[in-house]
């Protein structure tokens, strides 16, 4: 359990440091089960910070969204740290970015939160529709979520609302942090990401039909890319015009190119936070692609992304003793 009082205290202390620009965490949203990213620039902003199983959003994307605007004459660039509230997967995103030299370790102050898994916003909104006021959810020690709506208390088995990615999470505790709030969670036995297993059993034609059904709905809003902490290329290749790798026309062919390319570019980099799938407005099961690639990378090269800042990135490393069996 994360005590909000302790969280607020830590955020206050962190933001009060001279070398910290701001801290990003979570605050209550405007309706239903929505949470919002919260930004504290001073100790008083920390009051609205909170943490609950609703806080799914991976905030690791924010330090990379910092805009380096042109400086005025005489102005100097600011070199201050950004504080981020991180769960297990979020900390792995930061590790992966540091590994790729997208960030320096000194750029961030990590406030670690031991995670017990987060609620899938789509599942809970379906279960309790039409909530015009914010509803918070707590987790008890019996693997149940407790929430109160209109004076009535509801107890829901955790399994029914838990995000699919969390069920297969191997690293609920932050792997990199400066301050840890509360006690580390006991490691639990992760399940397989069933959806990939189910997909693997299908024939290639069935699989193609399945993806065709989803990709034709893609509106190419690129919310999957923008929500992803690891999609931080300065210019994404779909935005390039010369050469234009993917056309702007929205049709099955180009949509497939985009979605497959996105998944490939995350090979050995995706840390399974599920942010892309949560953001997708047309319900494309993007984590099935990511998890598929993750599995291949693990089986062929025994590599897992986002574990160690000192490790070489997957595509930048070579090991003669790969467990791969396709070359003999």
């Amino acid at each position: 359990m994360v005590e909000n009082k302790e969280l607020i205290k830590v955020v206050e202390e962190t933001v009060s440091r001279d070398d910290v620009k701001y801290v990003v965490g979570y605050k209550r949203g405007t309706y239903g089960f929505q949470i919002k990213p919260a930004f504290a620039y001073s100790a008083k902003d920390a009051k609205e910070f909170f943490y609950s199983p609703l806080c799914a959003k991976n905030l690791a994307t924010y330090p990379l969204l910092e805009e380096k605007l042109p400086l005025r004459r005489g102005e100097e660039a600011e070199h201050k740290k950004i504080g981020i509230v991180v769960k297990g997967c979020d900390s792995r995103a930061i590790i992966q970015i540091i590994q790729e030299k997208g960030l320096e370790r000194e750029d961030v102050v990590l406030i670690g939160i031991p995670c017990k898994g987060v609620i899938d916003p789509k599942k809970i909104a379906k279960r309790f529709p039409k909530q015009s006021k914010f509803v918070d959810v707590e987790e008890n020690n019996n693997d149940e979520y407790i929430l109160e709506i209109g004076g009535t208390s509801h107890k829901i088995p955790k399994d029914e609302l838990l995000s699919d990615v969390c069920k297969s999470c191997e690293y609920p505790n932050p792997l990199l942090y400066d301050i840890l709030i509360g006690e580390a969670e006991e490691e639990f036995q992760p399940e397989h990401f069933n959806r990939v297993d189910e997909l693997k059993e299908k024939t290639i034609e069935e699989r193609w039909e399945y993806w065709e059904k989803h990709f034709q709905n893609c509106i190419r809003c690129y919310a999957c890319r923008e929500a992803c902490p690891l999609c931080y290329c300065k210019t994404c290749m779909v935005d390039l015009l010369e050469p234009q790798w993917v056309r702007r026309s929205v049709n099955l062919s180009e949509n497939t190119a985009w979605n497959v390319m996105r998944a490939f570019h995350l090979a050995g980099r995706c840390i399974s936070c599920g942010e892309c799938e949560r953001a997708c407005p047309v319900n494309i099961p993007l984590m099935e692609l990511n998890k598929f690639v993750e599995k291949e990378v693990k089986e062929m090269f025994n590599y897992t992304a986002g574990l160690d800042t000192e490790e070489k990135p997957f595509l930048g490393s070579f090991r003669p003793d790969d467990p791969e069996d396709f070359i003999s």
């Binding site: 969204l65 605007l69 015009s132 059904k213 026309s249 929205v250 953001a279 319900n283």
Partner: protein, 345 residues
């Protein structure tokens, strides 16, 4: 306005007949959400889910529109596609989404003589007959009433259906609607006084069920005075710059024009674009007049709540709530406008 009724069990018959005579588009459930698609079998129509995920603006202002095609080589010729002008019926459109068309019509169809008229939009708009469906159970983030609209507004459709229990109350609003009804077999009955009362009560109950309200009074003037306000930096801090709010908006209508070619064939296409992208205002010179998220979020709010009212006398928002429903970081336009009103200037 002619007032008729149609027993609910006759709806498939009606849709079947429309489908046999014209192209029929309707709301269909697909991958867990609603989409406007061509209806081949009346059974496919889903009227239980309130709003389609992507607004039906996509039927008229298509996400990808081919303006012309060409072939390379000696006998190359530029070919403009023939735009279908036969009647098409869009069934089950919600009043707010139909209002979205009215808001963007001046952009593509011109406001005064001499304005450019876009043939693609205009022909698709003119060929469409809108059969609206009142919303009896508005959703969490519906706020159409904040724009003097109603979940059972007849103003923006040709025919409006309202569910009044076992029957649909049918209002024939325009001449286009009358012509369509005349073309169909006589399965409608004249509405009674009592049914008309139930319809009004249904509308009143639906209006009451809308819990969210945007207070737009004085917004235009207030925005005039706060372009450089710190508020925009704060509001945009959490924005991740995806295009969801614009692509799912029934009134956002920005587009990009691109030439796409293969070795022998090519074409010019018009595709949706979004002011939320950094690239959107990126000049060839490298300069970007909207360099940060603050500029982009601010622009979107100004366009809807300041430029639109000034240019066209109408807010560029229908109150459908999609941008609130699907924003990954809960940037809530109602809250934004509330805060605009509270901001110290």
């Amino acid at each position: 306005m002619e007032q008729l009724t149609l027993p609910k069990e006759k709806l498939p018959e009606l849709l079947g007949e429309i489908g046999s005579k014209f192209e029929l588009i309707g709301p269909k459930e697909e991958n867990g959400f609603l989409a406007f698609r061509k209806i081949n079998d009346p059974k496919e129509v889903n009227l239980d889910i309130l709003l389609s995920r992507v607004p039906p603006k996509s039927l008229i202002f298509q996400q990808t529109e081919t303006l012309f095609t060409y072939a390379k080589g000696k006998d190359s010729k530029v070919q403009t596609p023939k735009i279908d002008e036969s009647v098409r019926v869009i069934f089950g459109i919600r009043p707010c989404d139909a209002r979205g068309y009215d808001i963007i019509d001046p952009v593509f169809m011109g406001k005064k003589e001499g304005d450019y008229i876009d043939p693609f939009y205009t022909k698709k708009r003119n060929r469409s007959i809108l059969i609206g469906l009142s919303c009896n159970e508005p959703d969490t983030n519906c706020f159409c009433t904040s724009f003097d609209d109603s979940p059972a507004n007849t103003k923006h459709v040709d025919i409006l259906f309202t569910d009044i229990g076992d029957t649909y109350f049918v209002e024939v609003v325009t001449e286009k609607g009358e012509d369509l009804i005349k073309n169909l077999s006589k399965i409608f009955s004249k509405a009674t006084e009592k049914e008309s009362t139930i319809r009004k009560e249904t509308e009143r109950a639906a209006i009451k069920a809308i819990s969210r309200k945007m207070n737009t009074e004085g917004t235009v003037e207030k925005l005039d005075k706060m372009f450089d306000h710190e508020f925009w930096v704060e509001t945009a801090r959490s924005c991740i710059g995806c295009g969801i709010c614009t692509y799912l908006c029934p009134t956002c209508h920005c587009f990009d024009i691109q030439d796409e070619s293969t070795l022998k064939l090519g074409g010019r296409v018009r595709v949706w674009d979004s002011c939320m992208y950094e690239e959107y205002t990126h000049h060839a010179s490298g300069h970007n007049p909207r360099p940060s998220r603050m500029n982009r979020v601010r622009n979107r709010v100004y366009h809807k709540f300041n430029y639109f009212p000034k240019n066209d006398g109408i807010f560029g928002c229908t109150g459908c709530g999609r941008c609130i429903d699907y924003c990954p970081v809960n940037i809530d336009i109602i809250e934004v406008i509330d805060k605009v009103k509270e901001a110290n200037i």
